[in-house]
Each structure stands twice: as structure tokens, then as C-alpha cells.
């Protein structure tokens, strides 16, 4: 069984009117569910990947707030009938790809019928900030994943690699500074080059293991860090720039919204032909490189 993207919802907070991570999430998830071929009752799993959320709360899961907000099997009084498990996957900008694999595992194992992955990272100003700017654009994103019975299309394979020796290149934390809590982002000025070094190893290891080449792919979906970064990545991989999907926006990295934003663009511009393949390449703090193959 292939696990496919059934629908996508995106909300770009262009005029900064949305102030909370939960609302950002709702603006993306509601149209995503509406466009899908599934009802809310069918959603067995809600996964939030937002690292930076309202009040930076650590308990309960942010996804339980999302599940309640969207009224997805939220008011159960017993364990009978349709029900939903909510959980967070936190792993910097790798969360969304991790969550896609998690949904694939849960659907393949028969634990759920569909899974909703949401991200809405937002530095909401309830703490002061220090260090480098957050560097990502607050964007609501949602993706509904479901099993494809014919099995031809969808996510084919995933691979993740961690380069812990490069870990110090990217860090964020909160701490008590004088009389208030402060959020700090620390990035090596050469962090993009560090990402590219990790990609040059991680991607080629993956291709070798899977016995496939970059020519086997119709497009490459990179992390939407910046347009310049995507150009450099094309150089590192040795592929034409046109092969790279670039939906970067002015003013910041799309962070966890990278994959849904790129997929949304692909489906909207000219729907891909059945059988076309995309190589997804994601980078994140850690330093981690994630690869996945998606067949349309």
C-alpha cells in the first residue's frame, strides 16, 4: 500500500494578522480537511511538528489543542467508534518529514486510516528574544495522508542521517535572563554551507543504498531555506537549477512548512504525470539530512 498526500492546506501570514500558532494551524488545516476525500471522523492521527508554539508549553501536546480546535473526534466519552490519537513530533525543521513517515507507518500497520500533519511555528512574542533572528516565516501548513490501495503512488522510501559532529551550528533555547525568560537562536554564520556539507554526504549515501541516480527523478524538493541555498544545493548535487522546486519567500526560511508548500506548488502549477518521481531533501538542526522518494 502506498501512502499518498490526499490534500494540503497552507496559510501564509502575510499581513501578520494571525498572532497565535493555534490559529495559524487552523487556517491551514480547515481547508486541507475540507478539500480532502475524508471526513473528520476518518482522521485517526493528528501530528503537530511545531517547535515554536503558543506560550512554548511543553504539556500537553500541541496536537491535542489542534485536535480539539478542529473538533476531530475530540469529545469521546468511551473508546468505541472512530477515535484519534494526537501527538507531537519535535525535531527542528525535520519534523514534517519525520511525521510523514510516522503516518505512513501507522497507516501501513493498520492502526489508523489517515493522518493529519500540521505545522505552525511562530515566535509569538510572549518572551523576549536574543541572538540571531528566528529566521523562519510563520506559516500554517497541513497535509492529510492516506493509504492508496493500488499502491502505485505515494511515499516510497525514507532515509535519515545525523551528523552530530556539526551539531553546534544550529541551536535554540529559552533561559532566564535577569527577570524574564528569553528565547535565543544561535546559528553559525556558515550554517548553510554546513547543511550543504551534510547533504553532499547524506543524499549520495541514500542514492547508493537505494541504487538510484539523480536522473531517475523528475524534480527535487529541497528545504526551502533560501533561494541562494537552493541554487548552491543544485551545484552540490550536480543537477540543473530548473529541477529544484523553489517556493522560497522573501524574509525567511519556510522551516517545517517547506515540504507542504513545495508540494502545494507542484500540484497547483501543473499536476504531475502519474509515475513522475520527486526526491525530497530536508535539512535540520542536529545536523540532520532526511531524504524521501515520492511518486505521483
Amino acid at each position: 500500500m502506498g501512502i499518498t498526500i490526499d490534500s494540503i492546506g497552507l496559510f501564509e501570514n502575510k499581513n501578520k494578522s494571525v498572532k497565535t500558532s493555534l490559529e495559524l494551524c487552523r487556517r491551514a488545516a480547515e481547508p486541507c480537511i475540507k478539500q480532502s476525500g475524508y471526513s473528520k471522523e476518518d482522521i485517526g492521527l493528528v501530528v503537530s511538528v511545531s517547535v515554536y508554539r503558543d506560550d512554548y508549553f511543553c504539556e500537553p501536546s500541541f496536537s491535542s489543542f489542534v485536535q480539539n480546535d478542529l473538533k476531530i473526534n475530540h469529545d469521546k466519552t468511551d473508546s468505541l467508534g472512530p477515535k484519534t490519537l494526537s501527538l507531537d513530533v519535535l525535531n527542528g525543521a525535520m519534523g514534517f518529514l519525520n511525521a510523514c513517515q510516522l503516518c505512513s507507518a501507522m497507516i501501513t500497520a493498520g492502526k489508523v486510516k489517515t493522518g493529519l500533519v500540521v505545522s505552525s511555528d511562530l515566535v509569538n512574542g510572549s518572551v523576549s528574544e536574543k541572538g540571531d533572528p528566528p529566521g523562519f516565516l510563520p506559516t500554517g501548513a497541513a497535509m492529510l495522508l492516506a493509504g492508496e490501495k493500488n499502491g502505485g503512488s505515494g511515499f516510497k522510501t525514507f532515509n535519515f542521517k545525523t551528523f552530530s559532529e556539526m551539531q553546534d551550528a544550529c541551536e535554540s533555547y529559552m533561559f532566564h535572563d535577569k527577570d524574564h525568560m528569553t528565547l535565543i537562536f544561535k546559528r553559525d554564520p556558515a550554517v548553510e554551507d554546513i547543511y550543504l556539507r551534510a547533504i553532499s554526504v547524506g543524499v549520495f549515501e541514500f542514492l547508493k543504498r537505494e541504487a538510484i541516480g539523480l536522473d531517475d527523478f523528475d524534480m527535487i524538493i529541497p528545504s526551502q531555506v533560501s533561494s541562494g541555498f537552493i541554487t548552491k544545493m543544485a551545484g552540490v548535487l550536480g543537477v540543473k537549477r530548473e529541477k529544484m522546486i523553489d517556493v522560497t519567500r522573501e524574509g525567511g526560511n519556510l522551516f517545517n512548512a517547506s515540504l507542504p508548500a513545495a508540494m502545494d506548488h507542484i500540484f497547483k502549477r501543473k499536476p504531475p504525470e502519474p509515475g513522475q518521481k520527486a526526491l525530497i531533501i530536508n535539512v535540520a538542526s542536529g545536523i540532520q539530512v532526511g531524504c524521501a522518494v515520492y511518486e505521483f
Binding site: 480539539n68 469529545d75 513530533v89 519535535l90 505512513s104 545525523t162 552530530s164 551539531q167
Partner: protein, 366 residues
């Protein structure tokens, strides 16, 4: 149905420091109106040293888990860290990036594993178990590891300063304890052992009954606000039905066939839940004898609670190889879970490890 998932190894680390409920209450600006020790049964709990944090607890637990396991870090395909606590340094440092799992990849060779954090309140380790079971059944991995380091007594220190009413929403902060736990899961072709059944879901309309975040007060730190009455009401009532439905008409409805481990919030909550389950099923599923009560000396270890209880009761001889365990899971969210498990020879291997560790300690002392 496929193969059963089995706990291949287990490791638990509890810091040496101890903090009694009496000491905690004594330090509160406004003291609870009732006897907290009498209400919860918690006499004392492990507490981290000044330079010990969530990541350290996780690392120690994972190290012990590998000492008992036949596997090495490079053999693990999936690592999920589930600690609620991200308290990782002086001045109330709370880490966001890299994730705990990525940070641990510095200490253990997880370079080729899928790694991520999946905090899900006190149900975190159980939810991760449910996830690893799915990865195994889907054929995505051969073995997965779940790790948690809960440095939570910092919540109690903030509550001592901030509690302003005799029945305060921060009172539950006085019940927590610090611990690390880790386990490795794989599949077995022996249908008599491992997880026979498991289920988990979230009743999200009650998601705001317990919230953990940072303090907005000038002293900083972390806070947790809990509506203890409401959360217990929902969790106990729904656990009775959830557990009841899974065990009714099976061998698990007889308390003599298994141990019962539920989330460890307090002795009274354990007793009430036990009675609710028995009333729902109509037989004695849980008795005083088969119920594992670990909260008295450990406090509420959040996501580690079930596995610290399992570890402690293997080490004190109460839980033995080949025996059955009925797990019941409750957490804020509200998350509910049930699992039916038969142990392999893990207790014997944990006991061997304990004896070796004792010998090492004696050697060092001499």
C-alpha cells in the same frame, strides 16, 4: 496481526538525591490546606543534583539499557525521545533545537537511525511504544528505542514560590519526581510473549486540564497548572471503560493472571481507578495484590512512571520472567492507553545486571 513486539531491554536511572513531601510542603509560601502526603501517598521522590538535567537522566538510562541489551547503538533503527522536560542547563535553560534525540546522537552512534522527539505528556513513552510497534509491523525498522529523561522537580521549586491558595492549580507540581528510562523494542516470533494488544487515543476536549509552560514571574522557571479533580474524573472514568472493554471475557479479567501498572500519580488515584475498572468489568481485574504502587518513593515520574515501576518491581523480585502485565495509561491531553503484555526473560537479565552492578560497586568501595 503479525508478530508481537517485545521489550528487548530496559534501563532506568534515578538520581541519588531525595526530597520528601514534608520538606517540599515546608518550603511553600502558602501551604496546601490538606496533608499532601496522606492524600497522594508520596513520601519522597528522587531529585536531580544541581548540575544534573533532563538530558543527563536520558543518557544514563540509555546507557543502562544498552548494558542489558544484546544490541549496540548502531543497531538501533529508530530513536524516540519523549521527555516533557527540556530543562537542560543553568538559568532554567529549556532546549528547543536540536531535539533531545539529536543531542543524544552525540553520546551514542545513532547516525543512521531515524531520530525525533515525541513528547506527549505522561503518555509519551507509551505513545512512542505504540509508534515503534507500528514501524515494526509496517516493516520499516527491525528495532526501535524509546528514551526519556524527566527533570521535573524544578516545577515543585517554582510552585513553592508561586502557590497562592491552599488548593492551588500548581499543587500537582509538588507530586513529581525525577527519573530517566529507556527501552528497546523488537519483534518476536513467539506468540506467547510480547504485546498481545494495545490501544491509545486522545480525548482532546479536556486538553486544558493540565498545562506545563514557563513562569512569567521575575524568578523564572517552569510551571504546571492542573485541575486535578477534573482530570482525575475523566481519566479514571474513561480508563475503566477502556481497560474493561479490552479485558472483558479474556484471561486478563482475573487479577491473579497479571500485574497491573497504571500511571503513578498517587495511591488514592490508583485505588479509585482499580475499583472503577473492577466495577465496569464485574470481576476483580485489579486487586491490592496485583497493583504495582511505585509512587510512594518515586513520586510521579511523568512519562517514565510505568517503566520505572516495572524496573523497580523487577529488581525487588515482585515481577518475574514470563509473567503478564496489564498497562493502563492516563495523561493530560487527555491521552488514554491500554496494553496487554507478557514478559520474556527480561526480569532475569535485569537481575543479572543488578548483581553485576552491585559487585562493581563493592569493588570500587574496597
Amino acid at each position: 496481526m503479525g508478530l508481537n513486539t517485545v521489550i528487548e531491554s530496559l534501563g532506568v536511572y534515578t538520581p541519588e538525591g531525595r526530597l520528601s513531601t514534608k520538606e517540599l510542603v515546608e518550603g511553600c509560601k502558602v501551604k496546601p490546606v490538606f496533608d499532601l502526603e496522606e492524600l497522594t501517598g508520596i513520601k519522597t521522590r528522587p531529585v536531580v543534583a544541581d548540575n544534573e538535567y533532563a538530558l543527563d537522566l536520558a543518557r544514563e538510562a540509555a546507557t543502562r539499557c544498552f548494558e542489558i541489551s544484546k544490541y549496540q547503538p548502531k543497531d538501533i533503527d529508530l530513536v524516540i525521545c519523549t521527555n516533557i522536560s527540556r530543562y537542560n542547563g543553568p538559568n532554567w535553560k529549556a532546549s528547543f533545537e536540536p531535539s533531545t534525540a539529536a543531542s543524544l546522537a552525540r553520546d551514542f552512534d545513532f547516525s543512521n537511525a531515524i531520530i525525533f522527539d515525541e513528547p506527549n505528556a505522561c503518555a509519551g513513552m507509551f505513545t512512542a511504544l505504540y509508534i515503534v510497534d507500528a514501524y515494526l509491523k509496517a516493516g520499516f525498522i527491525k528495532r526501535g528505542m524509546v528514551i526519556s529523561g524527566e527533570a521535573l522537580t524544578c516545577l515543585a521549586l517554582t510552585a513553592q514560590k508561586e502557590m497562592s491558595a491552599p488548593f492551588d492549580p500548581q499543587m500537582a507540581c509538588l507530586t513529581v519526581g525525577d527519573a530517566g528510562a529507556a527501552f528497546i523494542l523488537e519483534q518476536t516470533d513467539n506468540p506467547d510473549i510480547g504485546f498481545h494488544d494495545m490501544d491509545a487515543f486522545t480525548v482532546a476536549q479536556h486538553c486544558d486540564y493540565c498545562i506545563g509552560t514557563y513562569s512569567k514571574e521575575p524568578h523564572g522557571g517552569f510551571v504546571m497548572y492542573t485541575d486535578s479533580i477534573k482530570i482525575h474524573q475523566v481519566a479514571i472514568g474513561m480508563t475503566a471503560e477502556h481497560v474493561g472493554r479490552m479485558v472483558k471475557g479474556t484471561k486478563w479479567e482475573n487479577s491473579e493472571n497479571h500485574h497491573y501498572i497504571m500511571h503513578q500519580t498517587g495511591t488514592r488515584a490508583i485505588k479509585t481507578t482499580r475499583k472503577s475498572i473492577n466495577d465496569w468489568v464485574g470481576t476483580e481485574v485489579c486487586s491490592e495484590k496485583n497493583s504495582i504502587v511505585n509512587v510512594i518513593e518515586r513520586g510521579n515520574g511523568a512519562s517514565t512512571a510505568h517503566f520505572v515501576a516495572l524496573w523497580d518491581h523487577i529488581r525487588n523480585g515482585a515481577i518475574k520472567s514470563k509473567e503478564n502485565i496489564l498497562f493502563a495509561v492516563q495523561s493530560s491531553g487527555i491521552n488514554l492507553g491500554v496494553a496487554l503484555y507478557t514478559l520474556d526473560d527480561l526480569p532475569a537479565r535485569v537481575m543479572n545486571w543488578s548483581r553485576m552492578e552491585q559487585r562493581e560497586a563493592i569493588k570500587e568501595a574496597v
